[in-house]
């Protein structure tokens, strides 16, 4: 395997700055691998390295970046995994992508995803499913499945995705990499094709915690084009912690008990990680999040409600797919949207439209918002006693392609442990905690708003202690590149 590919992004950046690596060579090494991708992780790969001087002195030192399809990138396909945006080329670039480019990370390619970020297996994509590099018969998770698979398989040094109910953390867990969902408002949403505006957040998918910190450092910040964005109160630091002394970890019974349906292998890895944390000096105690079991229900009302409005703009009038139909305006709307949207997107538009309808609003959307408030209160109360709440990221490891496509409820349960955090607007990180039957297991830590630095430190200490080896997936990617 090409030795460049074995370097973490942070290590590669350091070697570029030390003039030990030519950034053009680094870009081309990844470009070639991404172009030969047979995991279907990429939807578009840069035809060549960007013109001009390589930003060898820039903080991200020319280390190429894979970007989830739903981030608008000027002149480059940005379809959010949907047929309805066929042929669409945005005239502008999303703030987060522009920030990272300015910091020296050139665009390597766009990655596959569930259509409009709706899904947990990446099977809801107009481009077809993404394969998990650990086992090609299995899903990579979703919705940022392309980004997760690309990083795990070494087709990209790092990637960004978006998380609405778990769309960064769950695929990171299923692909054995690190995924961080930042505090709501930490990263600008300008240029992210919206799923659920009050929940969507951009975040890094990386090989390790240090890479996540480095990428995040250049993503965050107030953007005057996003009214919900906030100035991050401190600089994101490179995590250095090697122990967890004094750290109090809370294990919520509601998310980790029998109700969550956690697989035995996942439970085993979770408990082993708790033991390691104690070994590093942390205290581990049960805690309560009484409303967390209702998070999934609230989420599946709030997110579709917002989506039903966010997706109304795809009407065939101005851009993307348009099917004229036979009978004027209404026919054009219905033909365009019938053919442009996939089944899961249509299901959620209908759910959301219903939840907002006159006479149902209070019972559904209104109640869901109240539950959301309660969930945020639960976390606030818990953080009075605990530094972090910890859970398995996903109740199970990567499942077989097609295993849950006919059962939306089973699919939704993927997000059981990841959905409460975005409802509360708080940050959470998933790190690989080991393998179960040869498949990666994710361990999730959630902290209070803007606790990213402490969260990264704790994750860094655990990561060192766990010593997870992601190279089997990269070797799989290597064979992909050769094939």
């Amino acid at each position: 395997m090409n030795e460049l590919i074995e370097l973490t992004a942070a290590a590669a950046a350091q070697r570029v700055r030390a003039r030990e690596i030519d950034p053009a060579e680094l870009f081309e090494a990844y470009r070639a691998r991404a172009a030969a991708d047979d995991l279907n992780a990429f939807t578009w790969v840069a035809p060549r390295a960007p013109a001009g001087e390589y930003p060898g002195d820039a903080p991200l030192a020319g280390v190429p970046l894979a970007v989830k399809d739903l981030f608008c990138t000027e002149g480059v396909p940005s379809q959010a995994g949907s047929r309805i945006l066929e042929g669409y080329r945005p005239p502008y670039t999303a703030t987060v992508v522009a920030n990272l480019q300015r910091a020296g990370a050139p665009l390597l390619g766009k990655t596959n995803q569930d259509e409009f970020a709706m899904g947990s297996s990446n099977e809801n994509s107009a481009y077809g499913p993404v394969l998990n590099p650990w086992d090609r018969a299995r899903v990579p998770g979703g919705s940022s499945g392309g980004s997760a698979a690309a990083v795990a398989a070494g087709l990209a040094p790092w990637a960004i995705g978006t998380d609405t109910g778990g769309s960064i953390r769950q695929p990171a867990a299923l692909c054995g990499i690190v995924g961080l969902k930042p505090t709501y408002g930490a990263c600008s949403r300008f240029g992210m094709i919206a799923f659920a505006s009050s929940l969507d957040q951009a975040g890094p998918l990386t090989r390790d915690v240090t890479d996540a910190a480095l990428l995040l450092a250049h993503m965050v910040g107030r953007d005057r084009r996003d009214s919900t964005s906030l100035e991050f109160p401190e600089a994101i630091r490179v995590p250095r912690a090697e122990d967890l002394s004094g750290i109090r970890l809370g294990v919520p019974e509601e998310l980790t008990g029998a109700g969550g349906g956690v697989e035995p292998g996942v439970r085993e890895s979770f408990e082993a990680t708790l033991a390691r944390a104690e070994g590093l000096g942390a205290s581990v105690e049960p805690c309560r999040l009484p409303h967390a079991p209702h998070a999934l229900s609230a989420y599946y009302l709030i997110a579709p409600a917002e989506a039903s409005a966010n997706l109304a703009r795809f009407d065939g009038v101005r851009y993307g797919l348009r099917e004229d139909g036979e009978a004027g305006l209404v026919s054009m709307y219905s033909q365009t949207r019938s053919h442009g949207f996939g089944a899961e997107v249509k299901r959620r538009i209908m759910l959301g439209t219903y939840a907002l309808s006159s006479g149902y609003y209070d019972a559904y959307y209104g109640t869901a918002q109240k539950v959301r408030t309660k969930i945020a209160e639960d976390f606030r109360t818990a953080f009075e006693r605990f530094d972090f709440i910890v859970t398995p990221t996903s109740p199970w490891t990567a499942f077989a392609l097609g295993a849950k496509t006919d059962d939306p409820l089973a699919m939704y349960l993927n997000d059981f442990c990841t959905v409460p955090m975005p409802l509360a607007g708080i940050p959470a990180i998933s790190i690989p905690s080991g393998l179960s039957d040869g498949l990666p297991v994710g361990f999730q830590l959630a902290g209070p708003a803007f606790s990213e630095n402490r969260l990264l430190d704790a994750a860094h200490a655990l990561e060192r202690a766990i010593g997870f080896d992601g190279s089997p997936a990269r070797r799989s990617g290597e064979s992909a590149a050769r094939g």
Binding site: S78, L85, T228, A309, R318, V330
Partner: protein, 482 residues
């Protein structure tokens, strides 16, 4: 026959005169080439987000303060969802249950609420109907899309088409004076819908209301509302029910037709706009809005005219609700004061005369009649130096050629004939001689019989003589003759 009382409430949309749009930095324009003032935000491109225009908020607050509303400390934007090609996001960002301003009053009409929203784009339809149904082709001009709008909703306090028109005129003057809008109905920067119902006079129960749209001038508002009132009374008299619906007024035919159900009848599925944070009215913002308001608004001006100048309520409103008239009146008043004083009521009587001669939509300041000339004319009338009839003639000459009224009176010999003037005495004698029967009746005490004698003298003097003086002279001479 039953007497009916109309009950009318207005919903007014006002385009704000900000430099840029409500949620993006595109310039406002009127009449520019289509689709040149657009960006990802106002085109509703994927990933674009709205950012609130601060000046639009200030203008909204100024309107609220001018209308005596309560400004909400915290208000919310909502999404109003419906599909239409002029609505690029598939929803309009508007305010719903927590608007910027509530309550208030302008003149004799209470304000229900005032809220902020964004305008739709402009649709152009090719085809005979000029509407989307039946058109061969339609295209969208997004220049207008996203223009800041304020919606003002009144309570149903209006009870006649004339009152509706007069009140809208007051609102227009008020908004124009505070400088937040061009308030031009023809260009669409002021649009008015009316909610109309009728009920038996004296009833406290409201009838079923209809919403009348598309009245894009003051005249059409008055006519449309009148037509709808008549239509509703007709239905009720015929024993039919008024149906709650949205109606389209066609100013050309004068006809009222229901809007196609697809153009309305929506469940808008309002919910709080997650892309915007709540709008918090800070003390600094309120202070800035208050600071920007003029010292005196039209309703206050009308009250001052009534209170301090002794004008009738109706005349005070007629002047104050049209700032150009009120400004002209006050300039003439000042000129008259410098020239030894003019009676305000007398002066105010001459403004409608002037307007009638120059045309009701023209600013008298742009006419040939200088304010000091009108003041001089009013002073001469009050002092009986010129009769009212002669003064009307002088005014017509001023409108045509300008000049000094005193000079015109002197040159044209239009000055009032006084009792001492022999010519007037002689004319009175001739009048008596021409109608001895009438003179006899006057002498016998029947004062009504004096009319033809006065008329004779007026005719002969071409209106220059003062009616009271003639009457006095006739009575004196009749008595002497007896």
């Amino acid at each position: 026959m039953t007497e009916y009382e109309p009950v009318i409430g207005l919903e007014i949309h006002v385009q704000l005169k900000t430099r840029t749009k409500m949620f993006c930095g595109c310039e406002l324009s009127f009449g520019d080439s289509p689709n040149i003032h657009t960006c990802p935000v106002c085109l509703g491109l994927p990933g674009a987000l709205p950012v609130v225009n601060e000046r639009a908020i200030r203008f909204g607050m100024m309107i609220g303060l001018a209308l005596g509303c309560e400004i909400a400390e915290r208000s919310l934007f909502h999404r109003k969802n419906y599909f239409y090609p002029d609505l690029p996001k598939g929803y309009q960002i508007s305010q719903y249950d927590v608007p910027l301003c509530r309550g208030g009053r302008l003149g004799d009409v209470r304000i229900h609420r005032v809220h902020l929203e964004e305008d739709a784009a402009k649709l152009n339809h090719l085809g005979a109907s000029g509407r989307i149904h039946g058109s061969d082709r339609s295209w969208v001009d997004f220049n207008r899309g996203g223009t800041p709008l304020v919606e003002i909703v009144t309570e149903p306090d209006i009870h006649s088409p004339e009152q509706a028109r007069e009140w809208l005129s007051l609102l227009r003057t008020t908004l124009k004076q505070i400088g937040v809008s061009d308030v031009n109905m023809e260009e669409g920067s002021l649009r008015c819908d009316a909610n109309v119902s009728v009920r038996p006079a004296g009833s406290a129960v409201l009838g079923t209301k209809t919403e009348l749209k598309n009245m894009n001038s003051f005249r059409f508002l008055e006519r449309g509302v009148r037509a709808e009132i008549q239509r509703q009374i007709g239905l009720i008299e015929a024993g039919e029910a008024v149906v709650q619906e949205t109606l389209h007024y066609d100013p050309v035919s004068g006809g009222i037709t229901p809007l196609r159900s697809k153009e309305e009848a929506h469940d808008y599925r309002y919910f709080p706009e997650p892309d915007l944070v709540p709008l918090v009215a800070t003390d600094a913002m309120l202070a800035a809005a208050r600071e920007a308001l003029p010292a005196e608004l039209p309703a206050e001006r009308a009250a001052r005219f009534e209170r301090e100048l002794g004008l009738s309520a109706g005349r005070a409103r007629d002047l104050a609700f049209r700032a150009d008239l009120a400004d002209y009146f006050e300039r003439a008043l000042a000129a008259g004061a410098a020239d030894g004083g003019v009676d305000p009521v007398e002066l105010s009587n001459w403004i409608p005369q002037l307007v009638e001669r120059i045309g009701s939509d023209r600013d008298p300041a742009e006419s040939n009649v200088a304010p000091e000339s009108l003041a001089a004319l009013a002073t001469m009338v009050k002092a009986r130096e010129v009769s009212r009839d002669a003064a009307r003639e002088v005014l017509s000459r001023l409108v045509a050629d300008g000049g000094d009224p005193r000079a015109i009176v002197a040159r044209e010999g239009l000055g009032a004939l006084s009792a001492e003037d022999d010519g007037l005495g002689e004319l009175v004698d001739r009048a008596i001689a021409s109608d001895p029967a009438a003179a006899e009746q006057v002498r016998a005490g029947n004062l009504k019989a004096i009319g033809p004698l006065v008329g004779y003298v007026m005719r002969e003097t071409k209106g220059r003589a003062d009616g009271a003086t003639i009457t006095r002279l006739i009575r004196e001479r009749v008595r002497q003759a007896g």
